[in-house]
Structure formats: structure tokens, C-alpha cells
């Protein structure tokens, strides 16, 4: 039996005196796509932020490949999160996509950036030199996804990635996200209200309510 990529055990999170997340056990394996569904305020975004090590749990442990992990460990470089309204650095599209590679001192950056832009459906010849303020909402989302895909993360987290996009942009985001699993076996965890898409592509869907896991399909 293979070790799950990331495992949550007895996770609790509280804001003030309100419990926002209460998960006994949850795990995500490489090469799988997991959907997170539930009404607003059910804890989906909190769970994703916790998986991205953006906020530590009040209680419980998070293991990455069987070892305890936290924001201070190097595993954070193997996990990335795309939110509904991502922020682009005040730089060109190329520099935005290349940022994560540069801080990792990777080689062959231009070719990798070009490939990532192609995966998200942006013509590198047209978009690479564009400034951050010259993009539409859908293009911003695709550049942000390219900036994450180019890092080849082991765990790609997506929080309502297509909620504010038109159908064409949403489809391109869907296709690009799936390529992360197909090309290098990333695990995807997607919070979305788009149940049609979740049911089509996910291996299973966790339904959350009031911070608790109520069922898995």
C-alpha cells in the first residue's frame, strides 16, 4: 500500500469561539483528483489554506508523505494554491510565470514558461511580454495557474478557480488543471460549486457542512 501524499488527522480550527473545521481523518494521494463541495462557510477554503500551510490548525497533525509537516518545512514548495481571484505581481506575464522557478534557481526557464503558457491556452508570443494590467480577468486566472503549473507541484489546490470566469476561460482552466495530473501525477484538490465538472473529473468528492466531513462520494 502506497503512503498517501498528505494526511490530516484530528484537525480542528477555531475562529474566535466558533469551530470552522473539525476533520477526524482525510487523505489525498498522488495522481488523484478530489473535489470539495458544500455550502458557503462549510470550511472548504479553510481546509485548502491549511493544506497549503497558509494557516496552522489549532489542533491535529498534517503529514506529508508520512512525515509531520508545517509551514517551516520544505514541503511547502511542493504544494501550491490557486484562489478565485488571484493576485499577479506587478511584472510582465513572463516574469509572473517565471517567479517561482527563479526563486528555486531552476534552469531552462524560458522554455518552461513558454510550455506553461501554452498549457493554459495563452500564446506565448502574444502574452509573454504583456504587463499585469493589460490582462482580462480570465487571462489573469490562466497566468496565475501557469505560474503554479510550471512548478510541477505534487499537490495543486484550487479554490473556486472558475467561479468568476466565462465558459471558455473555465474550460481552459479545467483542461490545464487536469494536465497537472496527467503529465506528472500531481494530486488535485478542488473546491467548487460546479458539481457537473466535479462529478465528471474527480475520483471522489468530500461534502463538508459546518466544518465537518458529512459524506464522501
Amino acid at each position: 500500500m502506497t503512503t498517501p501524499l498528505i494526511t490530516l488527522d484530528s484537525i480542528r480550527q477555531r475562529y474566535s469561539d466558533r469551530t470552522v473545521l473539525d476533520i477526524e481523518h482525510m487523505e489525498f494521494s498522488e495522481g488523484t483528483i478530489t473535489g470539495l463541495a458544500g455550502p458557503n462557510g462549510s470550511g472548504k477554503s479553510t481546509l485548502l489554506r491549511m493544506l497549503a500551510f497558509l494557516e496552522p490548525p489549532a489542533k491535529g497533525t498534517i503529514n506529508f508523505l508520512g512525515r509531520p509537516a508545517s509551514a517551516k518545512t520544505s514541503v511547502t514548495r511542493q504544494i501550491t494554491l490557486l484562489v478565485q481571484e488571484p493576485y499577479l505581481l506587478k511584472r510582465t506575464v513572463f516574469a509572473n510565470v517565471a517567479y517561482g522557478l527563479r526563486i528555486r534557481k531552476k534552469n531552462d526557464i524560458p522554455a518552461k514558461v513558454t510550455r506553461a503558457l501554452e498549457v493554459v491556452g495563452l500564446d506565448p508570443a502574444v502574452f509573454a511580454k504583456r504587463q499585469w494590467f493589460e490582462l482580462s480577468g480570465g487571462e489573469v486566472q490562466r497566468v496565475a495557474l501557469a505560474a503554479r503549473l510550471v512548478l510541477k507541484p505534487k499537490l495543486l489546490l484550487m479554490d473556486e478557480p472558475t467561479a468568476s470566469l466565462d465558459a471558455k476561460s473555465a474550460e481552459l482552466i479545467h483542461q490545464a488543471a487536469l494536465s497537472a495530473r496527467d503529465e506528472y501525477g500531481a494530486a488535485l484538490v478542488v473546491a467548487s460549486h460546479d458539481m457537473g465538472w466535479l462529478e465528471t473529473v474527480t475520483d471522489h468528492i468530500h461534502y463538508l457542512e459546518n466544518g465537518r466531513l458529512v459524506r464522501t462520494v
Binding site: R77, T80, E85, I103
Partner: protein, 231 residues
Amino acid sequence: MEYLLEGFRQGFLLLFSGDPEAYSAIWATVYASTLSMFCSLAIGVPLGFLLGYKEFPGKKVVRTIVDTLLSFPTVVIGLVVYAFLTRHGPLGGSGLLFTIPGMAIGQTLLGLPIIIAMTANAVESLDKRLPMTLITLGASSGQMMWATVLEARYSIMLAAMAAYGRIVSEVGISMMVGGNIKWHTRTITTAIALETGKGEFAVGIALGMVLLTVALLVNIGAAGLKKRAVQ
């Protein structure tokens, strides 16, 4: 009215004939302001960044002090620097009184609060999603700090322009610390004050036009940067 027009005419003649006295004052201004801007930015940007980026006890008190220093009168700065640099002062042996580097010390003190306050504001007003974005892209804390400085770069350049505008147009520090010595520490502003006092409007107007041109260029640059800073 006629003597004013004559002043303008002679002012243009002085500038375009390369009058050595006028250009000596222009050179002294450029030298002192460049030196003080370099020091203000080298000290002020890191301090302003820390003030805007980090949370620490007493931060509000520090902000209030910095904001108060924004309206520090130039003659008071001149007085303080003079007191330090004069023969009997703590730095009397440095020989900096009545020199351009001495003037630059005073002008640095004038520019610092502007750079610190505006840099801190720039960092504080950056998009709240920036830290999360940098973390999710794998940035270390040092890389996050550097990326944050770069994100605030247009606002920091705006701060530099505001400081430059204040430094290049001040009289009090240049007069008190520099001593308004001809061919040496006489700047555009001290020359204007002196020549006007002597009734020599032409030199005053010529140098005034140089200052106005600098102010115009600073404002044109600032307008472009403001647009970029908010995008």
C-alpha cells in the same frame, strides 16, 4: 512690470550664455541634492519598509514621530546640523561645516521622514493577497521581503520624487550649514535669496526658471508613477 520682463530677458541670456556664477549654483545644487538623495534612499527605504512590513511594540509611536518630522522646518534642521558641525560641536573636528557634504547631511535629515513615511505607507497599502501569493509560489521570508519592495517600487520612486522636490527647493539648511559661499556652497535657492536682496532680478529669475523646470519634470514623472502605483 517692465523691470520684471527685463529680468526674464536677462535671465534667459544668463542661462543660454553659460554664465559661470549661475552654473556654479546649479552645480552645487545638483551635487548636494544628489548626495542627500542617495543617503536618504539608502537609509530611508529599509527603515520605511520595516515600519510598513513588520509589527512591533511602539509602532504607532514611531509612525507619529516620523509623521511629525515631515513638517520639521528647514531652519531648525539647519540649526541642529550647524550646532553639531560647528567648531565647538560634537562633530566640530570633521570640517564639514560650510561644505557641500555638510549641507547634504542636513538635506538628508529633511528627506528621510518623507522617504520613511511614504515607503511605509506604500508597503502597508499593498494588496492583502500579496503575502499569500508569494507563500504559495514557494518564496522564503527573505524572498518575500524583496518581492514586497519590488511591488512597492512605483510608490517608493514617488517618495523619492517628493523628497527631491523638498530638498532641491529648501533654503534654510543650505544657508545655515553651507554658508552661501560663492563658487563653493552657493545653491540655486540661496543665490536667488541673495540676488533678490541685492535687487539683481535677472540672476534670481534665471535660477528660478531652472528650479521651476526641475519641479515640472518631477511632477511629470510623479504623475506617471502614481498611475502605475495604483494599477
